[in-house]
Symmetry: C3
Subunit: 260 residues, 3 copies
């Protein structure tokens, strides 16, 4: 199985599929080709949330603002899964999660360099470099391909929240297409507060398990499918209602403290 992810929209992904289908009979599954254009960070977030639900597979990822520069093309091997894409950090958060899920150490990734004859020659590495590499990894396997280990690679990590004190401090790491502002704060911090109210950046908001637990257009604090605290509005946009965007600080405080 080979999954495909990109920020290409349409119809460019079809050329990648054609190239793969010339080389492999693998089942192809689209993850998304609608990642925000050249947004490595948001793409890395979504890959981390979605790819762990797949069975072992080769994952082709092309979100690549540095195409045509001398950035490396890489394969990350997490044991069960192999991820093929540019060396810009987009593969790292999901690879770490996959390695940990396979029982390994998340810092113990094997990262290989895909040989590219003339990295600065092409404008469509998705089709000409990454798609053939994904097919090769699927058909031949990394052992027999004998790609060299990389000397180094570009890191990408999401900021860690501060959950030690009575107040919890984190930040918005992505806003999804519904306008839900997804934070880096683990959902567990809401456990003691279901159906209560919390102060979010100084303003009260109800803590509810589901969007439908508040009236349409009313805001809420909840846990999204990704397991993180999310600032949302039932049938509306949480980012606008809470006045936050990617990178905005989010402070959660309980009413007890507020009155204390």
């Amino acid at each position: 199985m080979i999954t495909l992810s990109s920020d290409f929209g349409s119809p460019y992904p079809a050329a990648m599929k054609g190239v793969i289908l010339q080389l492999s009979d693998a089942r192809l599954v689209d993850v998304s080709h609608e990642f925000p254009r050249q947004d490595v960070r948001t793409s890395a977030f979504w890959l981390r949330e979605v790819l762990p639900y797949f069975p072992p597979a080769v994952h082709l990822v092309v979100v690549d603002p540095g195409v045509g520069t001398d950035r490396n093309a890489i394969v990350v091997d997490t044991g069960d899964h192999q991820l093929v894409g540019p060396d810009n950090g987009v593969l790292l958060p999901v690879s770490r999660r996959l390695a940990r899920m396979a029982g390994g150490n998340e810092d113990d990734l094997a990262i290989y360099e895909i040989p590219v004859d003339d990295p600065e020659s092409a404008t469509f590495h998705g089709r000409d470099v990454f798609a053939p590499a994904a097919a090769a990894v699927h058909e031949t396997g990394l052992v027999d391909l004998d790609y060299p280990i990389v000397d180094g690679f570009v890191e990408l990590a999401f900021p860690e929240p501060d959950t030690d004190g009575e107040d919890v401090r984190g930040e918005v790491i992505v806003v999804d297409g519904f306008g839900n502002a997804i934070t880096n704060i683990p959902g567990g911090v809401l456990e003691a507060h279901w159906n209560e109210e919390l102060s979010v950046n100084g303003e009260g908001a109800p803590v509810r398990r589901t969007y439908a637990a508040v009236e349409p257009d009313e805001r809420l604090v909840t846990v999204g499918s990704h397991g993180n605290v999310e600032l949302a509005v039932n049938q509306g946009r949480g980012d606008e209602s809470f006045g936050v965007q990617v990178g905005s600080a989010v402070e959660l405080r309980s009413p007890t403290e507020r009155n204390g």
Copy 2:
């Protein structure tokens, strides 16, 4: 074969696919993930129009404004097809049509409840409840799953037109992405009027078999691929030109009557 339909856009549907692919080798076919957000009625219309073209399959449908409330998760068995989704009516119109096509009685549907441990716990039932259920129905089959029959279910039916008199009265039941205003009036009422003119809500419009039979930007009354009367504009938006939206009354009257 498992088909997938939702209002999720991208990339959420990929997580459902990953979950299914962990449990089943079924062929997966996307119907649409662009149904209008939380619009049960329009989704129900499109499912009724599209799913009957498929061979026997399990159809996973997640358009679910009540996610996280205590609404049931259900499977409707029409004989040839099984439909998995929320108990909000979205599965009903297509299920009735499929049952009728299989030679059965459209009111004779078998509807089962999918056991859910804690229905109010999750925000992503598509991935955590419905996708595993669709895989289970496909792999194990409803007989062996032994799901309980539901006590009751949410009904959804499109309004019936009044075609008995000389005038025909119906309503717009959906507007498609082209702006075509699709009514509940069966296309057969146009049989005697091809290439004539009809009065639509008091204004004349040509009755033509195809959009291209009128000039660009000109309006027409026609029969859409769904078999119903449609108010359209060649290369334009019928809803705007005819001044209608979902729920608008539509009265068709022949010129003979008008003059009579």
Copy 3:
């Protein structure tokens, strides 16, 4: 393998898939259903760029502003590939390229007419005419289908550039979703000018191999994945910056000449 291309958006393509899956177990691959609405020319361009990357297949193409008129439904046989769609020129540029790639003569295409009982009766030929025809071509093969050879067909060819003189003259043949203005000028004319500047319609612009070789929002002349000269802006829209659209003349002149 059957590929599917259309301007239908969603959910109409699913009905075509259902029809095919009733008749065939072929692997289905979406090329795009987001071609610009009823834009035969742009669709023809993208098909020519994308389909040649596929292994031998049946290609179903429905971009059909003349649906319901008496235009023919056709199959073009290029030897390795068969293309099914309306007789409006959309299949021609890619068919010529595929024939040439197979070692044949690009003017030596075999074009057959798909028998249609009542061409003016339907509004959804994609589902009712073309999808069954694609399945039949895939399952039965053109030889056994015994479709008649067409008497004639609608031509579509992209304009040829003038690359003989010192100045190069061509035109914009399509603008892609990124705003890149793709010309009919072969990329080879840039060979002697990499990292220099060229005059484009009288204004200087840097010639670079990749978007990232200029600053964000800066314009450049480059060669796109399609092999043609492209007027682009790094992370912006080339069409707006260069003031061009489809059909605009593009004259490339080297600084030497300008000063000579």
